[in-house]
């Protein structure tokens, strides 16, 4: 059967290789069981698959930049354009208040637009993540949570690329961060990630069965900036309404982020706590839905 012209690779014997790659001793024994009833995030397994996660993120980032003519420039153009429209319409014509500390309106708006833009891309990406990776889901095993997780990491790249524009505005309007609280800024982005990951878990699992999801998201994303304080400072609206908006974790994200990087008004602690609590509930609930429908992904897709 074997032909002499087929030069097949001759790998080292298994024992020699084992010594070199002894890292994964733990998973040498794989036990396959019916799906567990209680949803959980298997962190050690996710850690084991970290290279795949990194590779999938890298794939999505590089494909997107390769497929678009302007490539990485979009990460700057989209938030700048959005912020410019907001500044003209809401800042100039409608004279929206810039908050307690009277932060320069353009800085205020761009500082809101960047996390919002992140959230919007992450939500769209993560809710489509299972459906757009069908080929992988039906052909190879890896923790499925990796797909929504990867797609909330991908838009972080755009976010980072957009940051210099904010820094330029900070320089122009002299709205520099004040003191070490700027170090807390990443925590608010983390809050946005937790929120969008929870929603992403839920929506990607639902999207496997009901393709309605892809029509719902744009509508939701159109309303969301209005309800998150992107084009106004949340402390400038009536207190009663502030507490209503507090149930939207993005309100806490944007207020906190502005406070940390622009030295804007200190967010209300109670309102922030509500935002964090809602984000955690969304995360746990989303994960529960995802994990409980996970066994059916490969069967129903």
């Amino acid at each position: 059967m074997r032909q002499s012209n087929l030069e097949l690779p001759t790998p080292a014997p298994p024992s020699a290789r084992d010594a070199a790659e002894s890292e994964d001793r733990v998973d040498r024994l794989v036990v396959i069981r019916p799906a567990r009833r209680w949803p959980h995030l298997d962190v050690s397994e996710l850690w084991h698959f970290r290279e795949l996660l990194a590779r999938l993120v890298w794939r999505d980032v590089s494909v997107r930049y390769k497929q678009t003519f302007l490539g990485v420039a979009w990460a700057v153009l989209v938030p700048v354009f959005t912020a410019a429209v907001y500044v003209v319409i809401f800042g100039k014509f409608a004279q929206f208040p810039a908050g307690e500390k009277n932060t320069a309106y353009p800085s205020l708006v761009l500082a809101g637009v960047l996390p919002m833009q992140y959230f919007a891309s992450a939500l769209t990406g993560s809710s489509m993540s299972l459906a757009s990776n069908l080929q992988l889901v039906t052909k190879v095993y890896f923790p499925r949570t990796l797909l929504p997780l990867g797609s909330v990491i991908v838009p972080l790249v755009d976010f980072l690329v957009g940051l210099p524009v904010l820094i330029a505005l900070m320089w122009y309007y002299e709205t520099w961060p004040n003191g070490p609280k700027v170090l807390l800024a990443p925590l608010f982005i983390l809050l946005a990630m937790v929120t969008v990951l929870g929603l992403g878990f839920f929506l990607s699992a639902v999207n496997v069965r009901y393709r309605d999801v892809r029509y719902m998201i744009p509508v939701f994303l159109q309303v969301l900036p209005l309800l998150s304080g992107v084009m106004y400072a949340v402390e400038a609206i009536p207190t009663k309404w502030q507490w209503v908006l507090a149930f939207n974790p993005l309100t806490a994200v944007i207020a906190g982020w502005r406070w940390a990087v622009l030295d804007a008004a200190t967010p209300n602690l109670g309102q922030t706590a509500i935002g964090v609590a809602v984000a955690l509930v969304l995360f746990v609930a989303g994960l529960a839905v995802f994990r409980s429908s996970e066994p059916r992904f490969a069967d129903t897709i």
Binding site: M1, R2, Q3, L6, E7, L8, P9, T10, P11, A12, P13, P14, R17, E21, E23, D24, R28, L29, V30, V31, I32, R33, P34, A35, E51, L52, R55, R59, S62, V63, K66, Q67, Q135, L136, V137, T138, K139, V140, Y141, F142, R209, Y210, R211, D212, P295, R296, A298, D299, T300, I301
Partner: protein, 421 residues
């Protein structure tokens, strides 16, 4: 010897209703739910259930090459999906000891926008290789694929042949201790199939454990130490590949490779002649019942002439899978012209090589005499024997290296001429 794979009472149930709802819309589900509430119905219809696997238990010792065969829908693909963890079992458990690599297709996750180099890393990672492993084998993978010049070209510009070569090259450099392989690997041209099988053979000879799902019986016969047959989600046979395949062919073709009658009185025939045995002569190096399309196929008929009466001679009728008659043939040699003396005779019909098409073939045999204008059948056995004709894909048959479907009852290797006009 240590056990590499241990499956214990593995079952997998599919609900048909669930599968139908897969592409439904939210509205359908909501209206369905609303109706259910309104009419206080618990379940509109009991969802139909299918057990794709039912209490499957087996062990695979380390270093064994195990083949799994079965008809379409028998459950062999489900078994592989459970073992590769693409889907979860409904009940039961499996323990797998060792680094597992699974190959359900080549080029999983290849992205057309990415270059060959980038896809090697992507695909390698998806198949479970670490970055360092890929780096170490990168040059070997590229060499093996033979596409060095295009390694930095996006794969969307590759020809399909280049694409498959690169994809296979990555897969060929996987070095797991346990390999789970699907038959879909065997699509593509004959050259590619040969490479796949060659690689699998190597896996086996290196002492790795291989579980190979296929309905290519010849490769199971050649590569495996042991074979399982699955039918209706259950293991119905477990043993040496030759035996399992022979029994499997017997079930699928309703006739085996051999039939014989111990008592002459019960053997088919009349008071003149009775057929006592019919068999397909084995091809050396092939499992019983599988014959190489290139080699002549011998069908032996053993019959006993009970009294001297008239000239009798053997005849065969060859039919394909759909029971279409391929041909009839009888021995017209003058040795049968005289009345045949009583005694036992063995006549072998030799069907030339490169005549029948691939697939299941059955033969009907008879002992006849010519009673002009009638052909009288003194003894006949309908569906006496059956066998499987195989093309090993080495390119020297009528299909060349083409790997796709090849129609026709017969498939002669013609002589072609070419002139310049």
């Amino acid at each position: 010897m240590a056990i590499a794979i241990e499956a214990y009472e593995l079952s997998k149930k599919y609900r048909l209703g669930e599968m139908q709802a897969a592409y439904g819309t939210l509205r359908e589900s909501l209206s369905h739910a609303a109706r259910r509430v309104a009419r206080q119905e618990h379940r509109v219809t009991a969802k139909e259930e299918i057990w794709a696997l039912r209490d499957v238990s087996f062990e695979v010792p380390e270093g064994q090459v195990l083949g799994v065969i079965g008809r379409n829908g028998a459950g062999k693909s489900t078994l592989l999906k459970v073992l590769t963890r693409i889907t979860t079992p409904t009940s039961g458990r499996v323990e797998i000891r060792g680094r597992v690599g699974s190959l359900l297709e080549v080029g999983t996750g290849f992205h057309p926008e990415l270059t060959g180099r980038e896809n090697i890393y992507l695909n390698g990672t998806i198949l479970g290789m670490k970055r360092k492993e890929i780096e170490r084998r990168f040059d070997a993978i590229v060499d093996f694929s033979g596409i060095e010049r295009f390694i930095d070209t996006p794969v969307k510009r590759y020809s399909s042949g280049m694409y498959v070569r690169l994809a296979f090259s990555v897969a060929a450099h996987l070095e797991p201790e346990i390999m789970l392989v699907d038959e879909v690997l065997a699509v593509g041209d004959a050259e590619f199939q040969r490479r796949c099988l060659g690689r699998m053979e190597e896996f086996g000879s290196e002492g790795r454990t291989v579980l190979f799902v296929s309905h290519m019986l010849s490769s199971i016969g050649q590569l495996c130490d042991r074979a399982l047959q699955i039918n209706g989600g259950m293991i119905v046979q477990d043993g040496p590949p030759g035996e399992v395949i022979a029994n499997y062919l017997h079930q699928t073709h309703s006739a085996g490779v051999e039939q014989s009658w111990d008592s002459v009185d019960e053997a088919p025939g009349n008071d003149l002649v009775r057929i006592v045995a019919v068999r397909v002569l084995p091809h050396e190096g092939m499992p019983l019942g599988i014959v190489d399309v290139r080699r002549p196929i011998g069908i032996e008929i053993v019959f006993r002439v009970l009294r001297e009466g008239q000239p009798v001679f053997p005849k065969i009728k060859v039919l394909d899978r759909e029971s279409t008659i391929a041909f009839n043939a009888m021995d017209t040699d003058e040795r049968w012209l005289e009345p045949t003396p009583p005694g036992e005779y063995a006549a072998t019909a030799w069907i030339p090589g490169n005549l029948l098409n691939e697939g299941a073939v059955s033969a009907e045999v008879a002992i006849c005499s010519l009673d002009f204008p009638k052909l009288e059948h003194h003894a006949s056995v309908y569906e006496a024997v059956s066998f499987e004709v195989l093309d090993s894909g080495e390119g020297d048959t009528a299909r060349g290296t083409f790997g796709g479907q090849w129609r026709g009852v017969v498939r002669p290797l013609l002589e072609w001429t070419r002139e310049r006009v």
